[in-house]
């Protein structure tokens, strides 16, 4: 992992890679993230930089790899998945978050997005299935509950080494 991180840094900073920060544009060139529609959210969630530029240090990089590895527990994966899907960072998944999530899944471009009424129907179904206290949003516990019963979550949530 250290090797891959240091490859992302420009040559002169490679000696002290442990303390350097890699800018977001370089992180997004990683093959695993390049094709991922959630790459911007992933960088935002794992980055601990103070000035909001989403750069990642080596420790952030390790964090990301450990969460996506096969040996991470599903608790951890679901916790981070919740944070990644929470587009407005307000601690819950409301209708706007779900709408952005579905649009990310179906792809960019006008013809690949669902129509408005399909989106309405879909969000209504999702909330019906997972919103237990019927407040119109999904909080972390509801999300983890619904994901623990989902058979595909652990299967799909790992990055190839």
């Amino acid at each position: 992992a250290y090797k891959r991180f240091s490859e992302l840094l420009p040559k002169e900073e490679r000696e002290n890679a442990c303390s350097a920060r890699v800018p977001k544009s370089r992180i997004l060139t990683l093959p695993e993230l390049r094709a991922n529609p959630f790459r911007h959210r992933i960088c935002r969630v794992f980055s601990t930089s103070d000035n909001g530029d989403d750069s990642m240090s080596f420790e952030d990089f390790l964090d990301m790899l450990s969460v996506f590895s096969d040996s991470a527990t599903s608790d951890i994966k679901s916790h981070y998945a919740f944070r990644i899907f929470d587009f407005d960072d307000d601690g819950t998944l409301d209708r706007k978050d779900l709408e952005k999530l579905v649009n990310c899944l179906t792809g960019q471009g006008k013809e690949s997005q669902l129509s408005d009424e399909e989106m309405e129907q879909l969000i209504r179904n999702i909330l019906e299935e997972s919103d237990i206290d019927k407040d119109g949003t999904i909080n972390l516990s509801e999300f983890q509950h619904v994901v623990s019963r989902s058979p595909d979550f652990t299967r799909y949530g790992g990055l190839q080494r």
Binding site: E59, F85, S112, I126, L140, D152
Partner: protein, 698 residues
Amino acid sequence: EVFLPEELRAAAPVDFLQELPSYQSALRRRAAAGGTQERRAAPRGSAGLRAAEARGPEQEGGELAARPAREYPLTIAEKRRLRDCQQADIKYISGWKQWKRTSSKSLKKVLNEVRELLSYLELWRHDIHSIEGKFGTGIQSYFSFLRFLVLLNFIIFILMFSFVTLPSIISKYGIFNSSFAKIPPKNIEAHCTVYKPSGNMGLVYFYTYLKDLLSGTGFLEVTSLFYGYYTIDAAWLSILRYNLPLAYLLATFAYLALSLLWIIKRSVEGFKQNLVHDEDQFQSYCNKVFAGWDFCITDPNAAQLKHRSLQYELQTDLEEERLKRKIADRTMKEKLRIYSLRIFINIIVIAVLSGCFYSIYRATVFSQENSNVSIGHDIRTDSIGAANLLVQYLPSIVITLANFIAPQIFSFLIKFEDYSPAFEIRLTLMRCVFVRLANIGVLLFSLWSQISYCATDQCKACGYNYELYPCWESEVGQEMYKLMIFDFIIILAGTLFVDFPRKLLVTHCSCKPVQWCGLQEFGISDNVLEIIYGQTICWIGTFFSPLLPAIATIKYFFIFYIKKISLIHTRKPAARPIRASSSNFFFLVVLLIGLVLAFIPLGISIAHIPSSKACGPFRNFNTSWAVVPDTILGFPTGLQQVLHGIASEAFAVPFFMVICLIMFYFIALAGAHKRVVEQLREQLIMVRFDPLFCTPKV
């Protein structure tokens, strides 16, 4: 600011969520104390750390094994601080507990490393991983299934070889001072015991060997590949007596039981998922949206396809829901029309099936009559040889044609039946499964009708047609062998002569019809049915041909590489993917159906049809099963009485009733759990509006 009110509001419902049965069992699985508090560490680092620190000392107090730092959703810097905190607390615990804790930690580490090492030994681990990355988990589940079958067949082969073939070979060649005993059958007419297999016939043309290799006759018939070789009744290893007939029968039962248990064990995981969820669609929308993106995809093209397939899946599901609502609103007249149409189409389906079965029956009868007639002739001449081979393979050819044509007809017919798309797929699959497995049954049935057809009194004395089939088990074994070889040849020929030319045509020829045809998708269900068909043949055939599992292992081993190469070079990814979780369970269910269907012909052969008196280990018994009562009669009287008691009705009926009671108990328990879940859900909604806990959302 924004976060804290949420925390307060959500604190109350969380306690109720903990009472849900699914959560309780998840808690029990985790060794640590403490509830959901650790998981809800705040995104803001310092707040989370304070929460974790506060809980740290209380947690360490009573418990022996705290959760390792890696299970906390915090950043690395915070985990380091947490670990220092945990280490500091260790000093406050007595020496004995400290030692226990460190030893359990090191044990866990060792177990983890052993597990990682074992995963390196897994067959084809890297290949399957790369297929998963490029084509998704649906296709990967097919290849994992193939790997499972390779291992299963290998274990079955080891079982049969070590208990049946090895003792025979050892005693026949007198290794380790062993000898064998051949007990001549008594009270049997002499004509039943005449069996002259045409083994080595001296100088023959080379192609005779090839022909024998392909049809299992000639020199292959007298090898240990077929039942007829095992003609010894007991093997003596110095003073130990090895009862070969009993071993043969018990090894058969053992491999069937082993396959059954292994398949059930693998399907239990998938079954649990299907049972735990509610009846309606088990949260398919949440599953698709939250777990829909396959994080293993690295190729932008694959990502584009995944986007499109997700969009297609979501749209199909929504459309299906709208369709269901429309169906519920149907008028009486429309319902009548649709039901009568469905009955008509089912009649057509049954007609197609009967056509297939009849043609297989006629082909088998024709093949048996004509290939037997030519045994009398001199089979060294060229023209008769090739035609003879074709006639011998006629049942396999007809079965393969039926397996190819019938599914096409079914998928054409089902469009008229106006079912929802998901049900359409399932019904077509069920029909195809039935066609494939029933074809084998019809083949065996027609073979048996030939074998037990008895016109003369002499024939009735033997119980089977001794003139044409002096050693009928070897004949059946040969048919199974031919089916297996032909199946492999078809798969190889299909890849070489259909897939690769198609790919060449599509890449080099840019005319409209060719481009419209395009590349073929990797049809997961078709391929799975193909290998399940092959596996059913192997299960049925192993009793008649003990080395057949070895051939099956080699066959599936090569099929893996053939399919992999074909997939990578000649296929385009499917537009409508099957989800991995549901497909695993589906494969195993169909495999189980195949196994259960394999029990029937084996049961009839072993217990009903008289075993051949001229060859094989069961010459001295009426049927193959008769060796078991015979052995039991040789046991001490006490044991005999116990075994008779277990097999009698006085034991079976109460046993059956107890099993039914246990089953009803579990069904009632599941129903009670469901009701508890409903009640808790309602409580949650009520709590939200209770002014005591929080302000209701306006």
